[in-house]
Amino acid sequence: MKKRIIGIMLIVALVVSLAVTVAACNNTQKTKIGVMLYNFTDIQGTEIKSYCEYLEDNFDVEFVYEAVGSNDEAHISGLQNLLSQGCNAVISGYDTALSRSIAMCEEAGAYYAVLLGEVSKYEYLEENGYQPTLVEGMDSKYFLGGVTQFGGNPETVGVAYAQAAYNAGLKKIGAISFPEFTFKDGKTIYDTFKAELAKLDPTAEVYELQTFMYTQELCEAEVTKLLTNHPDVEAVLGLGSGLDYIYPALQNNNRSDVKLLALGYNNTVESLLSGSLLTAGTNNYTQCVASVFVRIWDAMNGKSFADQGEDDINGVAGYPIITSQAELEDFKTYIIPADKSNGSITAEELKNAMVTYNENATWAGLNELTGRTLEEIKEARAA
């Protein structure tokens, strides 16, 4: 009896499902692009989604979103779910399980690109005598590369932050970042910051770089360690998401007197800039999306840049830095406006950078467009 009932239930399920499958065969054919991020609720996620919606209004494209966990298996499951939805291309925020992701997209005939970071085409392994070895999948025509952050030059951030520290007259500065293996640019920025500050003010002291692994508790432990070892510290160079992790940790240690030079941006910047926050900065989300969208759109239309070399797999996105209320206003107006047609890159500018719409479009031109500084964007909008 029990087996019979279960059997009947399964048959009913199967019949209904098949009927629906057959009925669903005439779908509209819009280009569908999947976007994978850890979340779409923070400023980064909402801004990326917002620009994608702007693209939907201006191109025959539909975006679908998948929030993925930070582990590799969740990433692959998310990718599979997007491909199951019939995505023609997938934009991943990160280079997690890259080779496998490319292989899966290749199998499904979908393009794949990394949004928030550059990717290396070659790896240098001990067993190969540290000779450049092509990473599996990197030569696939379905892989469209990544995006270099900090305008392709993290050193400029280090220099700008050193200048801000010097202007504030800071002498004793701690530095906290994510581990180097997860955030290489953090170390580069720290080194440049230290060297630049030494030039500007030889008496200033930058303590050794501390690192923590992505949790508030571990961050608090590092902040406490810094404050214990250097109780006279005047500021922290917060490379490991200064606003999300380090600022709360300083508050919990009752050290609101310690200034913060933060990488990162969130809604607290406005109030903190008049207090302990000296600098904030973040990726230009619009430029990141624009850079990969151009490549995807051209690839889907069978176009490519004549001047793009085989090893040119990373586009560029700028990194606006905020040090004053005036800069914050500009940031809000041109980097994260509600109406994206007044933002960093308009649909017209984007079309002009695509070979699909402009035969003379170049790879260099695309990188120039997506690497514009806040000042350059402001000038472009004023024109």
Binding site: K2, E73, Q80, N81
Partner: protein, 351 residues
């Protein structure tokens, strides 16, 4: 002579109505009989009903994409590692144990898989390594729990931290991603869907035999109900517990190969969250995490498939990503309330 307590333990909560010699052989089935049957099989009906409901709802909401060839492959590849892990860990849960180290053990096995395959090119060695490492972890886990009489949650917590620590340390030593240099060698575990299904079927069958038809499974369930009673009935409690951990280790080791083949590279987070996946799958399948005679292997099968269908179906249905966790949580709560709520007349000893 059984004590009153033992008698109470032995009474199944949902004992089927036995036919007696007076029962007429071909009696017409009345509505009352169907109602009686439905009541007696309430948990099974809810469990399978939830599965069927999920299937129907998502078939409709996904516009049939749920059954597209690509998505069926997706479901198979997502179910395989989870199902194999759940099938093994059900032995641990059945005897009243708990394990939260499975994610970290998968991470450790995955890390070693990459090293072994890159060095030797032998898939067989990869499989052996994963099984050996997972079994070692579970022997330490079970052994410390049994020998030192510490809660199994605590011992598995220690294994979790140790295994995760090893993975993180190794990943942090290099700037390069730790990945298979030739992933085609493990393609069988990532792209051969027939092989995945066959592996699941074989492993589930073996586990079914062990769980339902051997001393190991029967005594494990008895220990889950009442360790003292089981010991007095002749079960070697410590040995059975240890064997359960070994079975779990073997399954987790095999599942690790499927997991790493699917991903192709190892990061410090590899496998994280798997412990929750397994727990949720088993609960969705109707497993009581306190173990005992009510534990059924079908919980691992139905639960794993339902769990994957839920995640996959919600995503393909176009449910906004911000709401997926909430919807999952509500569905999970409803199913748990319906299947695991203790009935008023339950006659079971408190554990």
């Amino acid at each position: 002579m059984k004590t009153e307590k033992e008698k109470r333990v032995m009474v199944p909560a949902e004992a089927p109505v036995e036919e007696t010699s007076e029962t007429p052989k071909k009696r017409k089935i009345s509505g009352a009989d169907v109602w009686q049957f439905a009541k007696s099989q309430k948990n099974s009906l809810i469990r399978y009903g939830a599965f069927v409901l999920v299937l129907i709802v998502f078939a409709i909401t996904t516009g049939g994409k749920l059954f597209s060839t690509y998505n069926l492959k997706t479901i198979v590849s997502q179910v395989t590692p989870l199902l194999i892990m759940s099938a093994g860990l059900i032995f641990v849960f059945a005897h009243g144990g708990m394990d939260i180290s499975v994610g970290a053990v998968v991470g450790l096995c995955s890390l070693l898989s990459v090293y072994v395959l890159n060095d030797t090119g032998s898939v067989f060695l990869v499989l052996l390594t994963c099984i050996a490492v997972a079994v070692a972890c579970y022997v330490i886990n079970g052994g410390s729990s049994i020998l030192f009489k510490i809660m199994s949650t605590i011992s598995s917590l220690a294994i979790m931290f140790a295994a995760r620590g090893i993975v993180t340390y190794n990943v942090s030593r290099t700037d390069e991603t730790i990945r298979f240099t030739n992933s085609s060698l493990v393609k069988m575990f990532s792209d051969n869907y027939g092989f995945m299904v066959a592996s699941c079927v074989i492993i589930v069958l073996i586990c079914k035999v062990l769980f339902d038809y051997t001393k190991l499974g029967k005594q494990a369930k008895a220990i889950g109900d009442n360790p003292l009673g089981a010991a007095q009935s002749g079960a070697n409690v410590n040995l059975i517990k240890m064997l359960c951990y070994i079975v779990a280790g073997v399954c987790v080791g095999i599942a690790s190969v499927f997991a790493i083949a699917r991903v192709g590279s190892v990061s410090e987070n590899m496998g994280s969250g798997r412990e929750m996946d397994v727990l949720i799958a088993l609960i969705l399948g109707g497993m009581s995490l306190s173990g005992g005679t009510k534990s059924k292997l079908s919980a691992a099968v139905i639960g794993s498939i339902t769990y994957v269908l839920l995640s996959n179906g919600l995503s393909i249905s176009g449910v906004p990503t911000n709401y997926i966790s909430l919807v999952k949580g509500i569905l999970f709560l409803v199913i748990v309330l319906l299947t695991l709520r203790q009935s008023k007349n339950i006659r079971e000893l408190p554990r």
